[in-house]
Symmetry: D2
Amino acid sequence: LIRVGIFGVGYVGCTLLVGLARLKAGMIDHTGIPLGECVAGYRTKDIEPVLLVDVDAAKIGARVGDFVSMYPELDAESLNDLPMVEAGVELGSLEGMPIMHAGLDQKLTLEECAQRIKNMIKDRDLDVVVIITPTEEIRRIESIEKLEDAIRADRKDDITACQFYSYCALSVAHERGRGICVINGIPSEIANSTAFVKFAQRTNSVIIGDDISSGQSRLLSDLAEHFRQLNRRVLSVVGGNWGGNADFLRLEDSKRKQSKKTTKTGCLSDVLGYDPPSDIKPHAYIGPLGDKKAILIHWPYQAFNNTIDELWVVGRISDSPSAAGMLIDMIRLGKVALDRGLNGVVPEINSFYCKRFGKQKSKILAYRELMEWLAG
Amino acid sequence: LIRVGIFGVGYVGCTLLVGLARLKAGMIDHTGIPLGECVAGYRTKDIEPVLLVDVDAAKIGARVGDFVSMYPELDAESLNDLPMVEAGVELGSLEGMPIMHAGLDQKLTLEECAQRIKNMIKDRDLDVVVIITPTEEIRRIESIEKLEDAIRADRKDDITACQFYSYCALSVAHERGRGICVINGIPSEIANSTAFVKFAQRTNSVIIGDDISSGQSRLLSDLAEHFRQLNRRVLSVVGGNWGGNADFLRLEDSKRKQSKKTTKTGCLSDVLGYDPPSDIKPHAYIGPLGDKKAILIHWPYQAFNNTIDELWVVGRISDSPSAAGMLIDMIRLGKVALDRGLNGVVPEINSFYCKRFGKQKSKILAYRELMEWLAG
Amino acid sequence: LIRVGIFGVGYVGCTLLVGLARLKAGMIDHTGIPLGECVAGYRTKDIEPVLLVDVDAAKIGARVGDFVSMYPELDAESLNDLPMVEAGVELGSLEGMPIMHAGLDQKLTLEECAQRIKNMIKDRDLDVVVIITPTEEIRRIESIEKLEDAIRADRKDDITACQFYSYCALSVAHERGRGICVINGIPSEIANSTAFVKFAQRTNSVIIGDDISSGQSRLLSDLAEHFRQLNRRVLSVVGGNWGGNADFLRLEDSKRKQSKKTTKTGCLSDVLGYDPPSDIKPHAYIGPLGDKKAILIHWPYQAFNNTIDELWVVGRISDSPSAAGMLIDMIRLGKVALDRGLNGVVPEINSFYCKRFGKQKSKILAYRELMEWLAG
Amino acid sequence: LIRVGIFGVGYVGCTLLVGLARLKAGMIDHTGIPLGECVAGYRTKDIEPVLLVDVDAAKIGARVGDFVSMYPELDAESLNDLPMVEAGVELGSLEGMPIMHAGLDQKLTLEECAQRIKNMIKDRDLDVVVIITPTEEIRRIESIEKLEDAIRADRKDDITACQFYSYCALSVAHERGRGICVINGIPSEIANSTAFVKFAQRTNSVIIGDDISSGQSRLLSDLAEHFRQLNRRVLSVVGGNWGGNADFLRLEDSKRKQSKKTTKTGCLSDVLGYDPPSDIKPHAYIGPLGDKKAILIHWPYQAFNNTIDELWVVGRISDSPSAAGMLIDMIRLGKVALDRGLNGVVPEINSFYCKRFGKQKSKILAYRELMEWLAG
């Protein structure tokens, strides 16, 4: 069994929980889980969610089955035996959202919050922590020591929810003398933070992240590789997407939009070797589109003999199931990495599953390296 | 220098000739040539077209500069020193086309034709033969001996132009005791013919083919790999294209359409591992579209938790420059293979550049193997 | 009440029946019915299906509720009080389809069949006959007398199911001395047949047809008007569609494909005033697409100062609900026309709802004339 | 002859001038000019540009032939006899643009500027004034008197270039006792300003505007009519466009973006009768796209029986030739309106050619009313 804690029980988290239950019940097959039923001995049914954390006042203290039907395509039918949702820290992550929150940080100091979160992780004896809280403003930390200073001084503006959970998880690993795997499913920098990676190394822990690459950015990356190999020159790129889930609602806030934007253009120029003029970002919240976002890619390029051609891609992509299917692999790969005694980051995992990790390569090529790592 | 003969001086052939001339004149850069200026020591300017063969009565005896402006985007400005176009064999390859032809086979027996073609190849001391004649009905041969029987008996219906040229080239290699590289740029089976491959092995020759993968089928293959790696299930595929060049005019003939169709669906199921219902083929000749064909890909798929999403790709792709850019690599790689003493087929070259070669893999993965082969 | 007989209880017919039942039950609103709830005093709930006819052996003698769930999106929940399906004539309309049929024409002469069908129409005292049988090969008749000769001589190859039903309906009108409205929802020529129109005039009857314009052809027509008014020149048109309902399965048969093709290109040149090179037709049967067909429109055009621009339209359009929504108007308008003492064809109705009727105009303009007719 | 002054000699202005010259030279035909060669007796060659005004320092004092080649597709070949470009007023219209301007308002008071502009209009005896200056922030005026107060007080922040030119033109009409036609080709409110319309009525002048409807917004309007007539419910609309001409560069400025946005959504809800969630606006400047902007329309809708379908439109649309072709009609129609003794606004002209004018109707329906007006 792999004991998992999920921080952020939103659309992705609920799809993950419902999907796992439906898999166990044989209601769905392994379509959409890249590595399928079995990864190095771990089957999908070996994933055991033992801790659920959120800050939405309506979810805290409730069972997932009580609120899951708020998300289209999801229902409580196959769910059972899930733990009650417990309160986490908000630290600004719901700013501007129409949600009443009841985070621990409303009433407690950061030190008290850290104690509570660490106890949850310790008590449930977690192997893997999955963070899929709302996209937050990207902030960087200089060192774990400075972060601990902020906690001690209760400077709530200096730390984000994602950083806080990651810190607590790694601290537990340190205290209990056994590593943990932290999976960061949002754009915040954890796997990309030298400070966090060093902390993970010191605690025999593994970080997988940052952000899950499951949709349009992944497609852009492979499209870029396709064109690079043909030495065709991409003249410009429009990569727009519009959706109606909470992620888009949050992205209306411009600072967050910036977070997403940075994630995507970087990947393209890493693969192409140059940076074509582009407009790649979530463009607007359009309620009726729901979780099935509408995407556009416009891709004019130069071929041999100065010929100008162009491609357009449009389509509908469901965000949450795409991400949830990836997480089912990431959880098991994180456990495999811990089993193998690895620490810090595992480039082969991050390159295939995540949007941001060092210099990007196309996902198709990253896959081959992942396969070699798994086999080796 | 690499001494090249081009059999079929149509749109692709002329784009290749004009492109090479413009490269020498510095009028264009190496965009659209996958490996760029230099491949294992051979530069693009080392390619020397010393033999041009066609069956169009209006081209035989003429200079390319006299007729090249019939193709949009091409002009004679940078051309010079190209040999005069000589007569080849038609053997049904222009059937149904509004072109008056003057193939050698109109007046001579197949044996006489073979002698003429072999003499051309021998006299110009060709290293590489490029066949880009019109798409023809696919016919298979049992053995080189049976093919020689047909030539001796002058059974013109039993052999296609592409087979005839390939046979002549490999025969010259045999006679002169030095291998040759045959590049088959059309769907006919040469690299896929056991008989031809054996003949190439016996004559220290190399075959590159079949058909050039430069456009929509290549994109389909990489898209398939992208989805296979995510374990998303492709539910059906529409892969339509419409164009106004001679290739589309010929494909109106249903037997030829079948040739193209076979080429493309095979590749998709090889990569995916299953065969989704599909309609992948050139659909119709639409004159005003010219060489810049209009393409459509419709790609509905199943993701995690039974979610159904879909992608659409549309665009304009110029056939001839795409193919010509690939040929500039293929010619040099063929020479490299001969230099290295190889014979028969070189899987690493065929897999990346050609549509049909054994079990298909995605082009992005084939690229990596090509790179390793080149380096090794 | 409007007493309606439905000949052909397939996907469209069943969607019509389920839709009417759901409207009565308040389960759906009037979205997709062009004129909404009320047309000249007739409400949607005034439509009473009193005769259902088909030739599928599995449907004859059954209730719609027994088989309706074979069509996605449809169920028997709201259905009640519908008459049992009775046997009609097949006359080749299921040729090549994987359906076992039990048409009256298997065992009876055409004269006997006619008597049976006429009795059904007479007994139920029908106001409106809706024909939505499978697309059939288009055949023309010279005169009603010749058609009657064929029936007397039992020449089953000389008459189609659609012609047979239309003839029977108009004969009943003649016999009972009260007109009837025949709605032809398939491409066969009834409203476009001088013989049938004259027969309708003689019998104080009204013909609405031919074929229902509810999807891509309608869009093409309005797009054409948009460009005509701007005097932009359409250079070529690709209008492809792919689907997985029975209509596409039938269209795999090439003769039937021709029927559909003729329907659509005519409309475009009527509006534009010229005939751009085009490929407009159903392209292939792709099972997983079901009733929600995939469409493509590629529309390059010339604007001022020799500029070449282009539009692409892709999308998913559900055939059956689109047609069923139109039929709900057509049935009521047919009754209104009879009430007003009209006979033959009513151009204002046909121009807006049908694909084929004389010289085509754009649907947006036809709408205005329909409104004036309704008001006047 | 129709004596025309053009205020703003940018891409649209130059396309208009080059196009008129090419028409006279027979180099192009009337494609893209909605009403073609002749409108109520006025031929395209009757349009005589006798005044050209701009504020770009590089254009003032130059001939159009000297700078026209800065715009792709345009050259000086067919140009001759055009007047030299004269200095106009900038009044903030180039704010944020990388253009050095030399507007009269740099050194003169508003009263002095007005005198200069009025003299130009008077001296050239203009029939028609065409304003196609850069998109500017929309500002409203209460009355012509308040505007005259601002001019007298030299409050340059209280008046825009478009307002200034319109005011000067109408003032000349007043002074000379003969009406003028003001065509406002940008989103500023002139035809939508009660104050300006009243001033036009007092001076026997005609205003055509505001903004030219030539591209995506026009298509949206007709698409909306298409769906409204079928009573299909549009669920949401994405209407994005990306381009590389100066208009997109200016729109990067957020206030101006707001101007364009307001223009477009209004039109859609006027036609549909409700306001679906939408994101309709120019999205970003992408240099390599040039004047041929890339557009996207995503259009999901509900059809009969709660069916959800969707359409996507993508394409490339050249802004400047589209607008220039419309202006050639508008100029002649303005003269026709003056000839007929009309004043104020002519709804039939504005509805068809302009984006903003009262309650919007679809362009296809507006066309019919325009035809009736012309005929009457």
